[in-house]
Amino acid sequence: MASTTKNINNEDRPGIPRGVLALIGIAVLFALLWGSTKVFSRYIVFIVSLIGVYVVAAESLNLTNGYSGLFSLGHAGFMAVGAYTSALLTFPVEMREVFALSPLPNWLGGPQFHWPFFPALIAGGLFAMALAFIVGVPVLRLRGHYLSVASLGLMVLITSLAMNLRNVTRGSIGINSIPKYTNIYWAWGWAVVTVYVVWRVVNSSFGRAMMAIREDVSAAQVQGINPLKYRLLSFAIGAFFAGVAGGLYGHLSGAIRPYGFSFDLTFQIVIMVVLGGMGTIQGPIAGAATLIVLRYILKPVEEGLKVYGLVELIYATLLIVVMIYKPEGILGRRVLRK
């Protein structure tokens, strides 16, 4: 993992082309992942896979929040959309009745059909992306702040639908016994894809336009950049990968509930991005890894001492301390402030 990001950020390395280095990095990463499945317990492998899923989530939020200067708080909502969509699509036909899930309608393949994992993930991502477009078009015309509240509102709206559309989502019980398709390779495969896409977007004229808007909207407009277009696309691409991350999460843990996609989840992803360094490729990866490991180290402490809220308290403290002393994040580079 570390080697991939390092290669990506070496702008002018003479000799071996960057593409080859990146491929070697990815090969090493997957060799390490394969090794870890042989060496470590299933619990550890689960945590490593979870880190992969969160890399997808954090890196996609980073595209919206780090590079385009917006601040979305609805990431958990998009993840919920992806998780529910893909879970409902892949849920095995023979088990649907037992779990009180209605069969797929004809336009989705009919009652005798359930989707394979990959297209279901994509469908979840696309659905999240469509929602991002619908909300984004009116809201992104306004001052950046409105997106924070509107996306948060979208998240509440989505969870309240998940809670109340009982004959589709089974309400607050959630869906369990989702086939556990996500393994360490799926999770990290998507992590690599997400990092690659974000990196490609950022290092293109598209990304430069986005960052120009982030730094100064008026100056960007004078250059002929249409802020709405770029903001909307960065928000929508972020939502797509959030949807995928949600789908991966559902098929990793095997169970999803509306409460699981609440503000706490958004906050967790926000802090991964901010802590690691907004607007950098490596920051969210480091943030995701650190926070997940921290959570699983502290969880026994929290339960043992019955001090519920300890993990979040530590997260929040970290966030505040970082904002005061190193607002660009641990791996971030200091940028010129307005």
């Binding site: 509102g153 979208l154 509440v156 309240s160 909207v217 906050f267 802090i271 519920y308 929040a316 904002m323």
Partner: protein, 298 residues
């Protein structure tokens, strides 16, 4: 199907909730006006206020008036802490870093309370005379309802006078119109910011008492939704307008109550969803809100 009595009763309930939203929105809009910050931590202050009252009144047995004074004082103190520790250090950076800090503070306060007070909700009993039931004409209410409506209207009137007549009030308006210009004419912006935090936080803490008394229970997470809804109220009323925030609070309270009262029972679970649906509709149709001016894009 719905009798006049039922409708009037729901309007009245809506006004009671609206009064509390209006008080929260008032504080948030002051802070938004001056710092362009969506102050997420504002919601946490109602939790702090409610628990502070609970500790003083139910656990320590301090009389009601004394407990309220302590709640106000404690809220003001929280305002000072937020201002000094968080925003003084972060102010001047990009807007988003204040937003993140505010978010961090919300989560910090919420989980500190969760850790100290346990995740279970607590039954919240205001003094007995607040629980007295009245049946006047078509509506039924308790003293607490009257207290909430009367005291919130009083606070709003006093605040309006304050903003119009006093030096500090004028300075606050000046800063919210243009921070740069206010600085040039010699207004001490730091003091205006500190003052706003203190006033807004004290009001939020008192609202916490009202909230607890109205619902009859308090929990560590009570502040989040109410804080965010207060911002929805601001958007409804028109960002940047103080009367707009209060007006928006009342509208939101009534709409929310109606969405519970007049939709079929199965839809009650959509209560929060409906609030945000209204928000998104308003952002599409009239982003400047009902009483606001168009805010320039930046």
């Amino acid at each position: 199907m719905f009798t006049t009595q039922y409708i009037l009763q729901q309007v009245f309930n809506g006004v009671v909730f609206g009064a509390m939203y209006a008080l929260l929105a008032l504080g948030m809009t002051i802070i938004y006006g001056i710092l362009r910050l969506i102050h997420f931590a504002h919601g946490a202050l109602i939790t702090v206020g409610a628990f502070c009252f609970y500790v003083c009144f139910a656990l320590l047995g301090i009389p009601f008036a004394g407990a309220i004074v302590i709640v106000i004082g404690f809220g003001a103190l929280m305002g000072v802490i937020l201002d000094v520790i968080a925003y003084k250090k972060v102010v001047g950076g990009p807007e988003v870093s204040m937003l993140i800090t505010s978010l961090g503070f919300y989560i910090f306060i919420e989980n500190l309370i969760k850790l100290i007070a346990s995740p279970q909700p607590y039954a919240f009993h205001p003094p007995a005379f607040f629980e007295k039931l009245y049946k006047k004409g078509l509506v039924t209410f308790r003293t607490i309802d009257l207290f909430i409506v009367a005291s919130s209207i009083a606070i709003m009137l006093v605040f309006n006078l304050f903003v119009k007549k006093t030096r500090m009030g004028k300075a606050m308006r000046a800063v919210s119109e243009s921070g740069e210009a206010a600085r040039i004419v010699g207004i001490n912006i730091g003091r205006v910011i500190s003052f706003s935090f203190i006033v807004a936080s004290a009001i939020a803490a008192v609202t916490g008492f009202m909230w607890g008394a109205k619902y009859g229970q308090i929990s560590y997470s009570m502040g989040f939704m109410s804080g965010v809804k207060a911002f929805v109220a601001i958007v409804i009323g028109g960002v940047g307008s103080i009367p707009g925030a209060m007006f928006g609070g009342f509208i939101l309270g009534i709409l929310e109550m109606f969405s519970v009262a007049f939709l079929p029972p199965g839809y009650a679970g959509y209560r929060d969803g409906i609030v945000f649906f209204i928000l998104i509709i308003i952002l599409i149709v009239r982003p400047s809100g009902l009483l606001g001016q168009k805010e320039a894009e930046s």
